[in-house]
């Protein structure tokens, strides 16, 4: 079996987004190997999709009041609350031809890793195109992918014990969604591993299941390693963008 690099880390939202972009750029230049990175946002934070308007996607007043940092991702998709005590994020950075040329197909292949990870807990899960994984019809994971010429970055979440009240207060459901789903829509539409299992699932269990799940989905082995000096240096320069008002309020 082919071996991919595995990185397990923790950092603030700006650093995490800078590392993901640095890895995509360096993978595109063939300077790093295919990698699975599993990480936590510390402190808890919010990210929004590249094409979202910040004021439509998040409740800035609430985030400021609670000192929850936020930034814009380079990937499309929707807004996400990353709970330091309840969510593990994955990034797959790989050559496009090692996953799938077709975008929809590549979402499916990678999201299957999350489905298999959830299966390890004895739960059924379904991939719902384009980019969601659901348990019992409720969203438990969302993903987003960005592509360069040769490389792709797909990052996504797996909620094991996210505080769903804080999630609901942090993210703005667009008006039309509220009308069709009712005001408590977020709570009715999302869930966590702990909520589904009726016990407190830990971060370590979640990480272990994700490694096994992605190993099955991608048919690869993982070998744990560290970021290279080049990745660290590039991420250190990219971090300024993610902290800047110009980027965060771009749309």
């Amino acid at each position: 079996m082919v071996t991919w690099r595995l990185i397990i880390s923790e950092g603030n939202v700006f650093w995490n987004m800078a590392v993901d972009e640095a890895m995509l750029l360096l993978r595109d230049e063939d300077k790093i190997p295919n990698t699975l990175r599993l990480y936590v946002f510390n402190p808890s934070a919010v990210t929004i999709g590249y094409f979202q308007r910040i004021n439509d996607a998040v409740n800035i007043d609430f985030l400021d009041k609670r000192n929850i940092p936020f930034t814009r991702r380079i990937t499309g998709g929707g807004s996400v609350y990353h709970d330091v005590n309840g969510e593990v994020t994955y990034s797959i950075i790989a050559s496009i031809r090692d996953v799938a040329t077709d975008v929809l197909k590549s979402y499916e292949i990678i999201c299957k890793g999350i489905v298999y990870a959830i299966n390890k807990f004895g739960l059924d899960a379904q991939f719902v195109p384009i980019n969601d994984v659901v348990v019992g019809g409720k969203k438990i994971s969302g993903s987003a992918q960005s592509r360069k010429k040769r490389a792709l970055l797909q990052h996504g979440t797996l909620m094991y014990n996210t505080d769903l009240m804080t999630l609901a207060s942090s993210l703005k459901a667009p008006k039309e969604k509220l009308l069709s789903h009712g005001a408590r829509s977020i709570l009715e539409r999302v869930t966590t591993l702990s909520r589904e299992l009726g016990r407190r699932v830990t971060k370590d269990e979640t990480i272990k299941a994700m490694i096994e799940g992605f190993s099955e989905a991608l048919n690869v082995d993982f070998e744990e390693s560290k970021l290279t000096d080049e990745e660290l240096a590039l991420a250190s320069t990219l971090i300024e963008k993610y902290k800047s008002m110009k980027w965060i309020y771009k749309r």
Partner: protein
């Protein structure tokens, strides 16, 4: 300057919003197409927005259809965007 925002919930759960400003002659002065969707390559959406500036309602379809071969959109269609802009002109 007249400002209009139009929104469409797409089947499957995604959302597309178009914020427009029209000048006195009814041409698009500014436009932002936003939402929780995906576009590949990503920079094409901004290129499309830029090209729509200065357009009148009858020119919108032709400009947008030109982009159907330049980019892949997931979670919405370019027809949704045409529909939203035409709706905004009528508001």
């Amino acid at each position: 300057m007249r400002k209009v925002s139009v929104l469409k919930k797409i089947k499957g759960g995604k959302m597309v919003k178009v914020d427009l400003e029209f000048d006195e002659e009814g041409r698009i002065h500014s436009i932002i197409i936003s939402g929780d969707f995906f576009v590949y390559p990503q920079e094409m959406l901004e290129a499309l927005e830029n090209e729509l500036k200065g357009c009148k309602v009858n020119e919108v379809r032709e400009v947008i259809e030109k982009y159907s071969t330049k980019m892949t959109v997931l979670g919405f269609t370019l027809e949704d965007v045409i529909e939203l802009i035409e709706k905004a002109f009528r508001v």
